[in-house]
């Protein structure tokens, strides 16, 4: 098998996962070079791999396919390798091998999911991702991050088990483990759908994301923002394109989180909510399912990974140098961190889909697709969400961090590797926005779409600028909701408080049943049984002997009989007599 792998090149997933094992052995510059080389190697292997199924591994009766390369998987492969390079560069100075190894295993898992050709391979890499990503949160080593990581892995175990159960049922029903279109039809497909929906953070299964991502390490959040949800987008686009339910779930997903984002105080939690909002656009595109919509979804995933990572990097850089991440603690940082501020604003402009920034050339395809299909309500919801995302991710994040009130913090720019990583991502956001042709060229379907028409540019600018006007007027008039240190309840309430309720219920009632049983069976019944087995025969003997003694006029010694039975020292004569009496009794009773 090994020679076979070497002859045909190595799957990108294994380059990452096996490469990760060597990281703890290396030191200094060699280590840095090695870590940066792995994503480059994966990228090159991908470019050189022709379309088709590669890297078959026989396992039991199944043929596992580690490399199904087609246009759809290739785009995701490219962006996952690219963002790994940027994220690794950003995390280069982190002196914690656990994070590095977990980061590569996580990215490798995402690549494995992308190129999986069958459902078993998909499941294996899916779980590698879940486990490895948990370490990105655990590595923060605070009490709240440990708790968040615990909740995170529980939710993903639930999602993973749904997926596994669905896969097993699906194979049972169809006899095929092929990873391709499934469509909502019967319990097997529903289980698979729910499994993917957990990772895609589709409401109401979304709260793990805004719960866990802000608790991750500075660099871990960058990895997290890229892989879990976007690999779920890929799998969803593969298995459930054109599912009408997804249109509505997606539209809901774009609209609901922005209300939370407006109220949220933690900058990285604001970004987490806007991440859910952006994935909503992609889910909507998958649901619409036309060529334009799928192209829009894939290109939006591509752009989104870059600008969301850029935003998480700039927020992370602020957290790294100031130790603070709440709106209420920050402000005025542009004075000493102008570069980070600039990068953050480029990310903000991209996520807001400003013309000349990457979000503009991708998101508009999805909205246009909704328009072409005459989905009135969905189109209105998506436009509303577009204006809303500019409001919180586009204005609020840079404004409260770098401008707003002067917090008095005079922090320096982050280390050079972080600046370069942010610079590369910012450059790509601009490059794709200005010149989308290379991105359009690698999309799954031929692109017949012009993002830069006068009507479109002016329409989008009006939507955004008048949204900004609303922000301005509300801030100046004091009507903007103040930033507050608070928790905003989300659907995780059901398992966070609900979990406690169940625990208390179990504690109160099951322990009561337990105590009752303990009293009844362990304490009282055994004593009764013990007493019965000790004294029963003696009592029975006395029951028979007392009338006999009475008839014979004798006065028997009761204590002696009790003692004799308890010590099992009964004279053989008595035993024989008792046995005879029993037999006589039995015969009479018959």
């Amino acid at each position: 098998m090994i020679s076979y792998l070497l002859n045909t090149g190595c799957p990108p997933a294994l380059i990452f996962i096996i490469g990760a094992l060597f990281i703890p052995l290396l030191r200094g510059k060699l280590k840095s070079a090695f870590m940066l080389m792995l994503p480059v190697l994966a990228f090159v292997v991908l470019m050189k791999t022709p379309e088709g199924n590669h890297w078959h591994v026989a396992l039991l009766d199944y043929d596992l396919i580690l490399g199904r390369v087609d246009p759809l998987s290739k785009v995701f492969g490219y962006i996952f390798s690219l963002i790994s390079f940027i994220a690794v560069l950003f995390a280069l100075k982190v002196e914690d091998d656990v994070q590095h190894v977990a980061g590569f295993a996580y990215a490798g898992g995402a690549l494995g999911v992308t190129f999986a050709g069958d459902l078993f391979t998909l499941y294996i890499f899916w779980e590698i991702m879940a486990v490895a990503s948990t370490f990105m949160i655990l590595a923060r080593k605070t009490e709240s991050s440990q708790a968040a990581a615990f909740r995170y892995i529980l939710v993903h175990i639930f999602g993973g088990l749904c997926l596994l159960a669905g896969i097993i049922l699906y194979i049972q029903n169809t006899g095929s483990a092929e990873f391709s279109f499934i469509g909502l039809d019967g319990p097997a497909s529903w289980l698979i759908f729910i499994g993917i929906a957990v990772n895609a953070a589709i409401p109401p299964l979304h709260p793990w994301l805004q719960d866990a991502y802000p608790e991750a390490t500075v660099t871990g959040a960058v990895f997290l923002s890229a892989f879990t949800t976007k690999s779920a987008v890929y799998v969803m686009a593969r298995t459930f394109p054109g599912t009408e339910l997804l249109i509505w779930l997606g539209a809901l997903m774009t609209a609901v989180p922005i209300f939370y984002a407006v109220l949220e105080n933690d900058i990285r939690r604001v970004l987490a909510y806007s991440l859910i909002n952006q994935v909503g656009f992609m889910m909507c595109g998958i649901g619409i399912g036309t060529e334009l919509a799928i192209n829009g979804t894939v290109s939006h995933a591509f752009c989104h990974i870059l600008y969301k990572a850029l935003l998480f990097m700039s927020a992370g850089a602020v957290l790294h140098v100031t130790g603070k991440i709440r709106c209420t603690d920050l402000g005025g940082l542009y004075k000493t961190m102008p570069l980070t501020c600039l990068f953050c604003m480029i990310g903000a402009a991209s996520i807001s889909a400003f013309p000349l920034f990457s979000g503009f050339v991708s998101k508009s395809m999805i909205i246009s697709a909704a328009g072409h299909e005459k989905l009135i309500v969905v189109w209105l919801m998506l436009q509303f969400a577009s204006a809303g995302v500019f409001h919180h991710a586009g204005i609020k994040v840079p404004f409260f961090t770098f401008f707003g009130h002067d917090s008095g913090i005079r922090a320096k720019e982050p280390p050079l590797n972080m600046i370069i990583a942010m610079g590369i991502a910012a450059f790509l956001c601009l490059f794709i926005g200005i010149y989308p042709k290379p991105l359009y060229a690698i999309l799954p379907y031929p692109v017949d779409y012009l993002p830069y028409t006068a009507a479109h540019v002016v329409g989008q600018l009006q939507l955004l600028m008048f949204g900004a006007l609303a922000f301005c007027l509300l801030i100046l008039s004091g009507n903007y909701p103040a930033e507050m240190r608070a928790i905003n309840l989300d659907t995780d309430w059901f398992y966070r408080k609900g979990g406690k309720l169940v625990y208390n219920f179990m504690d109160k009632w099951l322990n009561r049943v337990n105590a009752f049983c303990d009293k009844l069976f362990a304490q009282e019944m055994t004593a009764t049984l013990g007493a019965f087995s000790r004294q029963g025969p003696a009592k029975l003997t006395l029951f028979i002997m007392t009338p006999i003694w009475f008839v014979m006029g004798k006065k028997g010694d009761k204590e002696k009989i009790y003692a004799a039975f308890e010590t099992a020292s009964i004279p053989i004569g008595i035993s024989a007599a008792a046995a005879t009496l029993f037999i006589v009794g039995l015969i009479v009773m018959r």
């Binding site: 409001h391 909701p481 608070a486």
Partner: protein
């Protein structure tokens, strides 16, 4: 100590910035009247539809969020 930027602390500069911003809004409103549209829905053809929609969306967003806050806001130690 590196020199600090103070551009946006000067009220004069903020005023200039706001004026540029308002001017660009007016330009957008005017330009919209002269461009050819290829709309999916009839209301997209209405003059300055997107300006109105963007503004109303954001105001609604804020006011609904404010109402929402009354129901979902809890102390930071709520889950501890």
């Amino acid at each position: 100590m590196k020199k600090e930027l103070k551009t946006f602390d000067d009220p004069k500069n903020v005023k200039i910035l706001l004026r540029i911003f308002y001017a660009s809004l007016v330009v957008l409103l005017i330009v919209d009247l002269f461009i050819h549209k290829h709309a999916d829905f009839p209301w997209e053809d209405a003059p300055n539809f997107f300006a109105a929609y963007g503004f109303v969306s954001c105001v609604l967003l804020i006011f609904i969020a404010k109402i929402l806050r009354r129901f979902i806001k809890k102390d930071e130690t709520y889950y501890d």
